[in-house]
């Protein structure tokens, strides 16, 4: 028997969503990004069938993992009941046509009906943007998790989804290196902006510790190294492997960062009071800070 841990006011690691939920953000983000990259690739005449197929598979994989996480999976159709305010409902609402149009695009592409396929892919891509946006807003609406609800996370989630997807696309088409590189720069800026915003608003100290450890890996493995590889790929187009590895690295660390964001950096708000009560003829004092929080 393990003792139930003393609770206290400190922010706790959220345990409502585990790696299965994280997979939805990882698969959904990278998949949506890959679908969009495939669409852009298709517009410039590149093959896209395999990459778009993988993109849809990733989104589907993420949603499947969520199916295994929810407590009452056989009621999962109830997820569609609250489009008025719930970004999770909206995510589901977008996902259905996303797979529909995606399937049409793939079928049309497989059958060689190029125009129809591109049109369907355009729609799929648009829906993928919507899907990715829904995911970003899902996190933002999670008001119990300070590191998720921060508005600066929204652009990061969007950009990293695109970066991951495009990074994966580069594995199919190394010529996408420049786009990946550009997105990498944007992602780095979005990350720094997000982290700075957390420092300003304050956040659970343990979350910041995790994010700062992550930031070191993200800087080196997720930005500097792939940036160098992709830069080199631009200079040395005869070595497509550089772009492939650069793209995969950018994608991998983006996915890893989301895994950390969902499972390890996500602490609850904790409990705090602005001031202490007056006991009898005692005195009240203002609380200098929230327990377990830091601004740095």
């Amino acid at each position: 028997m393990k003792p139930i841990l003393a609770s206290g006011p400190w922010p706790r690691l959220q345990r409502a969503w585990d790696v299965r939920a994280a997979c939805n953000f990882m698969g959904g983000g990278a998949g949506a990004g890959l679908i969009m990259a495939s669409f852009v690739g298709a517009l410039v005449g590149q093959t896209w069938l395999a990459s778009a197929c993988l993109g849809l598979a990733l989104v589907g994989f993420g949603l499947t993992m969520v199916f295994f996480e929810i407590g009452r999976p056989w009621r999962s159709l109830n997820v569609f009941l609250h489009p008025q305010t719930s970004w999770m409902t909206r995510e589901g609402v977008v996902a259905v046509p996303l797979f529909g149009s995606g399937a049409i695009a793939l079928a049309a592409g497989w059958l060689g009906w190029r125009e129809a396929a591109i049109a369907a892919l355009a729609l799929t891509s648009l829906l993928a943007v919507g899907f990715l946006y829904c995911q970003a807003r899902i996190l933002r609406a999670a008001k119990g998790i300070p590191t998720w609800r921060n508005p600066a996370l929204t652009p990061y989630i969007l950009i990293t989804g695109l970066t991951e997807g495009t990074g994966l696309f580069a594995a199919f088409h190394p010529s996408a290196a420049a786009v990946v590189l550009a997105l990498l720069i944007l992602r780095f800026i979005a990350w720094r902006r997000y982290r700075r915003a957390l420092g300003q608003s304050g956040a659970p100290e343990a979350s910041l510790d995790v994010l700062d450890r992550l930031a070191r890996w993200l800087l080196i493995g997720g930005h500097a190294l792939p940036g160098l590889l992709l830069g080199a790929a631009l200079l040395l187009p005869q070595w497509p492997a550089l772009a492939v590895f650069g793209g995969l690295l950018a994608a991998f660390f983006g996915l890893y960062a989301k895994l950390v964001l969902i499972t390890r950096a996500a602490r609850t708000q904790g409990f705090a009071i602005p001031r202490t009560p007056v006991r009898g003829r005692g005195s009240s004092r203002q609380a200098a800070s929230r327990p377990g929080w830091a601004s740095r």
């Binding site: 407590g71 997820v79 305010t85 609850t268 705090a272 202490t276 007056v278 004092r285």
Partner: protein
Amino acid sequence: MTRYVMVADLRRCVGCQTCTAACKLANGTPPGVMWRKVVDIEVGEYPDVQRVFVPTGCQHCDEPPCVSVCPSTASEKREDGFVTIDYDICIGCGYCITACPYEARHKVDAPIWAYGEQPMRHEQARFDERKLGVAQKCTFCVDTVDAGLAKGLKPGVDPDATPACVNACIGRAMAFGDLDDPDSNVSRLLRENKHFRMHEDIGTGPGFYYLWDKEELPL
């Protein structure tokens, strides 16, 4: 209009967890799930330290983030202030748990018994399979309040129309009542005392007030 709220007088609370235990019995929550609990918070550094006991649980917010994120409409807000969960609709996605800044919501996927594999007789009697795999939280004892109202009782005054935590409190630190009734106990307490709500900056409009000092009333 009616707006039921909870008021906790932090000057009176001693963190004894009697409300926590009473809630657990009244609502038959499984081990590890506390719809009501009292958090022990320290403020300051040695030797200038104060320690405060803060009852918490679902704050039945004006703008409950759990309700707006809920994809299934299982979580709803009643006109009289209760935030409710329909266990038959909830899909158990856990989103509301992450949306709540007060750690008020829980989800239990499989039966948990106090002593291992087998339930005790009272656990078996109280077991409610509907609560497995769905979100659960403090209801402000809505069933008791509704039943009491149906009998013409006054919530917060008559024990049979009052949440278990309020009934149980040995410090008379907790009060429950209608904020929209200027003559209610909670309205009087809030008028006569300085108060705050927790995490007010998040903008949820909690229906849970904390008293910390008496108000300087005009003579």
